[in-house]
Subunit: 376 residues, 2 copies
């Protein structure tokens, strides 16, 4: 298969069987609850509609591969879906991280090959990021992930070890992840709001998913910028879920607010917009104009450097994703026969970006991900 | 002065003397507190840095006009800054709304003329939007505002009468505002987060202002879309602060989440992206790429209609603003002599939008606002 048609999915989730069993064993959120009309996944407090239908598409590798085949996806970099290990004790999280990373390595390495040198499945592992854990324990698990040949990064929520990702205690974690060349996939789970912000109307999952999720990613990344994490760790490779949420559209406002606030005005090495060029973004925004705009904020970052730094092509930091197995078609008839609209829309969006050449679009579909994850 | 150079500021605030006195009389937030080093405005719970310096730039009309002159602003549509009347009792809010609207009419009408037919100052009034108020009392104040010739709209926060702007009880308010042709300026105050979402680091006002404010506008507008407000009131003219916050960048994700949620999938008359073409946006985003992107989401809205509706030029729904007297220069030396960077950046952003013709840029600076507010 030529590089032109390569399709790599960097945003695709699973619950490994060990993790699904854990969710089944629980009586509080997060949990899987058996119902007469099928099992339900309940991962949010006050989950609307009694939770989401959940089934083997979350843990069965054959179903992942069938989904990939249906949509022409050659390689997937799979990651555990939220809420990861956040709800576990220190000892449970430590042990589960270790076991699940081993499981994921096995899931990938025993799967089909794409080429003589590449598998079809790679993974991002988990770290035991829970309150009260010792940082050396986290570092041990980074080492473990780095030793597993099919794991190329870690997926991470926004709470860190209880104080968020701008916590000074995480400095050794950023250093080691950076040293090992692992990618961090920064992914939301909690939103940023108490549920009363969403109001009293029944809007299903729309508000927390469409707005709360990207807000959370935006806040977490901004706090890392403000804390100087990217000044101290210039080689850190962070992939932002959902095309960086609202960070790109708010980045000039952020720069202005920083400039006008005596508390932070002189703290950073660069204008806030510069840091957007250091980050990576999945292309999961469902619209061509959105992707083009995100690309432009990456591309303009260099001119906000001190001194001005070389511009990167915005597209080079963007990579196709699906969010599978979330966003399934809601009509059963469609589910059987057709491609998923969520996937079709993201592919159409890439194809429709006015300012991207065909070579750039092709790279967003595949080669950029191989490069980011060290698979090329 | 030719239409080419006309500059109209739709996002410019004040605290009328009557309102400033109210803030001075209070011992809890919102309040103005006298300090040895100058008065401080405290409008947020847990206000960072002991509040913002506040002085006559907030209430002195001469200072507003001097600011306008310094920056070449011909006409300002002024509005009371947050938090408006939100903290008052029903009777206080009713009485203050009436008096402040009368004060604002006087502030505008007794000010200088711009031309034989236009003043330099127009205003947006206040409604007594507080919990437990009777809707007819609100409607009376809409009538009052509509009778005051220099008031052309109302500024509004996001809480409505306690349940947000998707509250069915507000239906008669939308009807009357729409009938009277008044503009609603939707403006944030609360953010969407409990302060712990911003973390423990001292980042001044940056996080609530740069992120919380636009998130709040985004949530409020989305809730109105989901409640069908724009389906039922197609003539309602809503101007969104800060270029609509994160709504444009999240609008395709919003559409996807709606399509994939059984609770809301069939509720709306149109794809979520269609509604963005019904809205108006200030050009207060501090970057050319941002403005160009917002414009593209307005311009594409028509193709998401059912049936497809005629496209509007995105720029035609966007209007210059400054956010004065917020975002002052932080260096005193600069303050004396130079233009405000916040204003210069917003003008430069308009000038830099790649896809706007010179005529469109000119219209964003002035004529679009005159048209929106019925001044042309």
């Amino acid at each position: 298969m030529s590089a032109r048609t390569l399709l790599v999915d960097v945003h695709t989730h699973l619950y490994l069987p060990r993790y699904a069993s854990l969710l089944r064993s629980r009586a509080s959120v997060p949990m899987i609850r058996s119902r007469a009309d099928g099992d339900r996944l309940i991962i949010l407090d006050n989950e609307p509609s009694g939770g989401r239908p959940v089934g083997s598409q979350y843990w069965d590798r054959d179903q992942k591969l069938a989904f990939m085949d249906k949509h022409g996806i050659d390689i997937s970099i799979v990651s555990t879906a939220n809420p990861w290990l956040d709800f576990l004790s220190v000892s449970e999280a430590t042990s589960m991280a270790n076991s699940l990373n081993q499981d994921l390595e096995e899931y990938c390495s025993s799967g089909p090959s794409f080429s003589p040198t590449l598998q079809r499945l790679y993974g991002m592992g988990l770290l035991p990021l829970v309150p009260s854990i010792s940082v050396p324990t986290i570092l041990d698990e980074v080492d473990h992930v780095a030793q597993l040949p099919h794991l190329r990064g870690v997926i991470m929520g926004t709470r860190g070890i209880g104080k968020g990702l701008d916590d000074d205690a995480l400095e050794p974690v950023w250093s080691k992840i950076s040293d090992k060349g692992l990618v961090i996939f920064l992914h939301p789970h909690y939103g940023v709001s108490s549920s009363d912000v969403w109001g009293e109307k029944d809007n299903g999952h729309v508000l927390p998913l469409a707005l709360g999720f990207p807000f959370e990613t935006t806040v977490a990344t901004t706090r890392m910028i403000l804390a100087g994490v990217f000044d101290r760790h210039p080689s850190l490779k962070i992939l932002l879920a959902h095309s960086g949420g609202a960070l790109p559209i708010l980045s000039s406002r952020l720069a202005s607010c920083i400039t006008h606030d005596p508390v932070v005005a002189s703290r950073l090495q660069h204008d806030a917009r510069w840091y957007l060029g250091k980050l990576y973004y999945d292309a999961v925004a469902y619209g061509a104009e959105e992707l083009g705009f995100v690309s432009s904020t990456i591309g303009r970052a260099g001119k906000y450097g001190t001194p001005t730094t070389e511009a990167v092509a915005g597209s080079s930091h963007m990579t196709f994703g699906t969010d599978h197995p979330f966003f399934p078609p809601i009509l059963d008839a469609v589910k059987q026969d057709s491609k998923w609209m969520s996937v079709v829309e993201n592919l159409k969006a890439i194809d429709g970006v006015r300012d991207w050449s065909e070579a750039e679009k092709s790279a967003v579909r595949g080669q950029n991900a191989l490069k980011l994850f060290g698979l090329n």
